[in-house]
Amino acid sequence: MIDDSALDNQALPERTGPPKNAGLPEHIAALIGEPQYPETATFPVEMSYAYNTLSATENGNPLYWDSEVADELTDGMTMPVATLSLWMRPHRWEPGATKEQVALKAHFDLKEQLDLPEAIMSDNTMILHEPVRPGDVISHHQVLRSISDAKTTKLGTGRFWVIDVEYHNQNGELVGVESYTGFGYKRTAPSTSTAPSTSPENS
């Protein structure tokens, strides 16, 4: 669950213009605009994942089920656009892993480096470019776009940040961009409610 009720009427970070980084440690401000964590998927795009998603949502779009339709409209099969982030999601376990793999590492870095133990995600934008096709090998990197000044909301005091994740295929073509707005914070008072005890990022 992402409960952003406390964010209503709060100014979200601007996507353009000079970043608001008053009071930020220099090494964190220096990350703004810099690509981080370039990674390439460990497995190629495959149609079976598309069918799992289509089945889960009972999506009968012939574009994804009928190869003749796909040939006519998209020169072959493509993936449902909402699966953009799927190809870079780490395995739950893989040989050599010593702990659970996490996506969006830049977000967790900010929590730790700014000593903001709680976080939520409020907005998520997905921009779709070249279609993703079976056999593609997707790469991505993360870019911290902005960090707000300190803000106090009903959740606590902290900062908003915007992180873009840019996805490319093996030919270097941009296939999509996801933009996440997060709010890292410290609770202002001990909670007496049944509020989540873990950070619901990306839920």
Partner: protein, 170 residues
């Protein structure tokens, strides 16, 4: 086992609609769906989301303090995609979606997708676009809002999927 049934109006199929149908204020065919625990788990695993609040009742209720496991965001995105392309048909090409999560969807909920056209335009490349305002609610609870920008054919011969690089400005 009885599979859950959805109610949607796929009046467009493969042929789809053209931009002239995207008049501001036009409502999209509603979609309602009875969510089960299977819906939540299937959607989470389909999106490679292994976190326990989407499959482990005890974790969700005792650690997260939520009433039950709940739908994950990438799966909701896939539901929005289905809702949009049920209306557009296969030629409709989504360019952009922005979500704002407000509440969760749990097993036992009937989620209802509703939406309307907010406007339309033809950009400088000749691509036709419709803007959509969409929401998913459970009863009186607004769970998620979504704004979307979807390319629609400007006539029966147009195919937004044929656009590449500089001719595609989502």
């Amino acid at each position: 086992m009885n599979l859950p049934t959805s109610t949607s109006t796929d009046e467009t199929g493969t042929a789809g609609i053209t931009l002239d149908r995207a008049v501001a204020g036009t409502a999209l065919p509603a979609l309602s769906y009875d969510v089960s625990a299977t819906t939540v788990v299937l959607g989470a695993l389909a999106s490679r989301d292994w976190r326990p609040m989407h499959h482990d009742y005890k974790f969700a209720t005792e650690r997260n303090g939520t009433p039950d496991i709940f739908l994950n965001t990438p799966n909701l995105a896939a539901w929005f995609e289905r809702f949009i392309t049920d209306w557009t048909g296969s030629r409709g090409r989504i360019g952009r979606m922005t979500f704002r999560m407000r509440d969760s969807v749990y097993p036992g909920d009937r989620m209802v997708f509703s939406g309307a056209v907010s406007g339309s335009e033809i950009d400088e490349t000749g691509c036709g676009w419709a803007g959509l305002d969409i929401s998913v609610s459970v009863g009186d609870r607004l769970c998620c809002t979504c704004t979307a920008r979807v390319a629609l054919p400007t006539d029966e011969t147009d195919n937004p999927w044929a656009r590449k690089s500089d001719d595609w400005k989502p």
